[in-house]
Amino acid sequence: MILDSHIPEGPLAEKWTRYKTSQKLVNPANKRKLNIIVVGTGLAGASAAASLGALGFNVDIFCLQDSPRRAHSIAAQGGINAAKNYQNDGDSVERLFKDTIKGGDYRAREANVYRLAEVSGDIIDQCVAQGVPFARDYGGLLDNRSFGGAQVSRTFYARGQTGQQLLLGAYGALSREINRGSVKLHSRHEMMELVVEGGVAKGIIARDLVTGELERYAAHAVVVASGGYGNVYYLSTNAMNSNVSAAWACHRKGAFFANPCYVQIHPTCIPVHGDYQSKLTLMSESLRNDGRIWVPKKKEDAEAIRKGEKGPLDIAEEDRDYYLERRYPAFGNLVPRDVASRAAKERCDAGYGVGATGLAVYLDFASAIERLGKDVIEQRYGNLFQMYQKITDQNPYEVPMMIYPAVHYTMGGLWVDYELQTTIPGLFAAGEANFSDHGANRLGASALMQGLADGYFVLPYTLQNYLADKIYEGAVSTESEAFEKAEKAVRERIARLLAIKGNHSVDYYHKALGRIMWEDCGMARSKESLEKASKAIAELKDEFYKEVNIPGKAEEMNTELEKACRLADYFELAQLIVADATQREESCGGHFRVEHQTEDGETQRDDEHFMFVGAWEYHGADTPEELHKEPLEYEHIQIVKRNYK
């Protein structure tokens, strides 16, 4: 199969305008005859449903939490990028586009990224009009901060809760449409299966998480905006309920899954402290604006700190190694996330790590507090400092924070074309659930931008283009054989899991899977570690299907069953991540193969052989997946070695 990305003709800067002026439209009277399903109420899902509802389509939206406002976009802290150039520091659409492509290590599609940069300014306008209380300067205009991988200040923020405020804006817009009757909300519902009829997406099977009943929903198009798959590592900065299952259900039905091995490890998270731990907490990248990262220069100091004999304040200035400033003078502490994470790992592996486990580095605000005063720091990062203190019982105004990398975001996801349509006609994917804009590494503050770009400004156009032909089809029925079969498949899957009645909990297996993935397919990967991981995952999966114990029934609220269904999908995904990492014999962005590095430990790409999107086709639970390649062609941008020195 040839993957056609459907990129419009014409010069890069005109493609989106040309698309919009030549696409097909649906007239207002016909819009209300067309149904759209949106799965997920994060930034992408909520903004898409609100915008589509406002256009006049009938939308059904699903979330597994009790309210759409809980989606994990809410936890994004630092900010959202936009090429407004309000700071007069030389920003432009072109520069945001280039930074994003370079940040992604030249593994993203030019046309999609350019469109993202192009609509970024509209997002800020939209959010301000909705009442998002972005930070302002004393003149009353919008303030900006800097994020990794950029030399301009283009990040808009609302204290350390930007994601929350943007999501509440989208949730408000969604609530308005619910009130107007154009959107119907189904909370505490989980998508279990995609229904495909005649090769086209026609609806979903959802499980009511309160009663356990399976329900059928039909539509003319389905949008999956269900987020990323970082929880395959068990410990990550994702919410407990974030999962891959909705996207995986699409993959099982024929939607290709692209670049699964591109996983972002965020450099600044609170380190792991015990095996009972359920998640890792992020400390925003924005902290690197004012915080300086260091470890002791001398190994004996590091050892003394690990034993508790010395503290960070006992280490003299000249005995501290500000390794990011040393290695990357041009970007310093604001290098992209993948670079900062690897540098932390390198220092800790070499024996300079701090904290009881030796798996931590310092993020120090002393010089910023001295320069700006405690008040300014408190204003900028107050809630993050409070969060840190509540979790670790240490005061970051007085002692440096301890941080370590953790799984945060997944660049891979469902393969989509320029219209955000997957390989199944009528099935669209938006936000973190798709693979499209971040290449092999996402820059900070770009996830919010992409989620809202997809929902507010891309899908309302591209979905209409698809739906224009559907007005002749009439209502979609849920009584077809396809729905029958899809529902039966879910019922059987659930029955199989409930029947096992073994001796271990779901979390026991999830933790074990997470350990395999983190050790052997995490920040550094090698041929050997991947072979080891592949074998270990297969064994663990077998054991899971023999030994897991899920109490209770299917027809009730059953959180263990929910977790088990999701974990079953993670096993398949884990195998695919390992296969993709094995296939990609190069290092790029978040994917670091130890065999492919430069002398000073930087990633070494192989553009000649690997400048493609790896899109995988599913052939059954126990059959290896088939790799398809979409070549990446760069017409506009000049490919160079990624250098932040």
Partner: protein, 252 residues
């Protein structure tokens, strides 16, 4: 550390609930309250005596507003400015008895065990807790300057996470702090002015309709709010409610 837990168990919204007592050992003081419950559930699954305890949770970093337990008589337990997921066991003494209940309010019926239905909050927002702008066609973000102190006050109110602790803490189960926070957030900003009075009326009418109680100014809500939303928001809500009675009313 070890604890004796008295946990509210209730099979579903129609069943009668009761307290059940459990013992748990080997809990680290660095562990969060929800991680302690995870370990209890692990124990229940392994021992095959009882079904695991259902409780709502998601982000586990205090921002999604999904978790909310009534612990020893206080919403989100005995620490200030935190949600249940950020409450750590170091706040308890070794050997403590801990009583764990769901939110108790008519407008938040119990779904199962410690899980309650807070969709009433969504319905209040749907009644008007937004600025009615359709996607596209809005002015440039810097067209209207907003004084920093106004934007900051709006942000203070906008930090509400909709967890429902204010309702649970209130003896009348009033939602005034929640509604006041949203009315303040949007009403302070110039963009929110156009619909301001309608918003106040529609949200309050909906709040009453859904069975939330009236406010008698004891401020238990403010004391227990994990995001420390101020009672001034309730004063503003009252003021605006009176204002809308005398103000422009396009329906009449």
């Amino acid at each position: 550390m070890h604890f004796t837990l008295h946990i509210w168990r209730q099979e579903n919204s129609k069943a009668k609930g009761h307290f059940e007592t459990y013992h748990i050992d080997n809990i680290s003081s660095d562990c969060s309250f929800l991680e302690m419950l995870d370990q209890l559930n692990e124990q229940l699954v392994n021992d095959k005596i009882a079904h695991p305890v259902c409780f709502d949770n998601d982000c586990r970093e205090g921002i999604c507003g999904m978790c909310g337990l009534y612990i020893n008589g206080r919403p989100h337990g005995n620490d200030d400015g935190v949600t249940t997921c950020q409450l750590h066991m170091r706040k308890f003494n070794d050997g403590d008895e801990i009583w764990v209940e769901p939110w108790r309010a008519k407008a938040f019926p119990v779904v199962k065990d410690l899980v309650v239905d807070r969709s009433a909050f969504d319905k209040i927002i749907q009644a008007g807790g937004y600025i009615s702008v359709t996607t596209g066609g809005v002015p440039d973000a810097n067209t209207i300057p907003i004084p920093k102190y106004v934007a900051d006050q709006a942000m203070d109110a906008a930090e509400c996470i909709g967890c429902g602790a204010c309702v649970a803490a209130c003896k009348n189960a009033s939602a005034m702090l929640f509604v006041g926070a949203k009315v303040s957030h949007l009403g302070l900003l110039p963009q929110g002015q156009v619909e301001h009075l309608d918003r106040v009326r529609n949200m309050i009418v909906k709040m009453d309709e859904l069975g939330f109680g009236g406010c008698t100014n004891t401020y238990a809500c403010e004391a227990e709010c994990p995001k420390q939303i101020k009672r001034q928001n309730i004063a503003r809500l009252n003021r605006e409610w009176i204002g809308q009675m005398f103000g422009r009313d396009r329906k009449n």
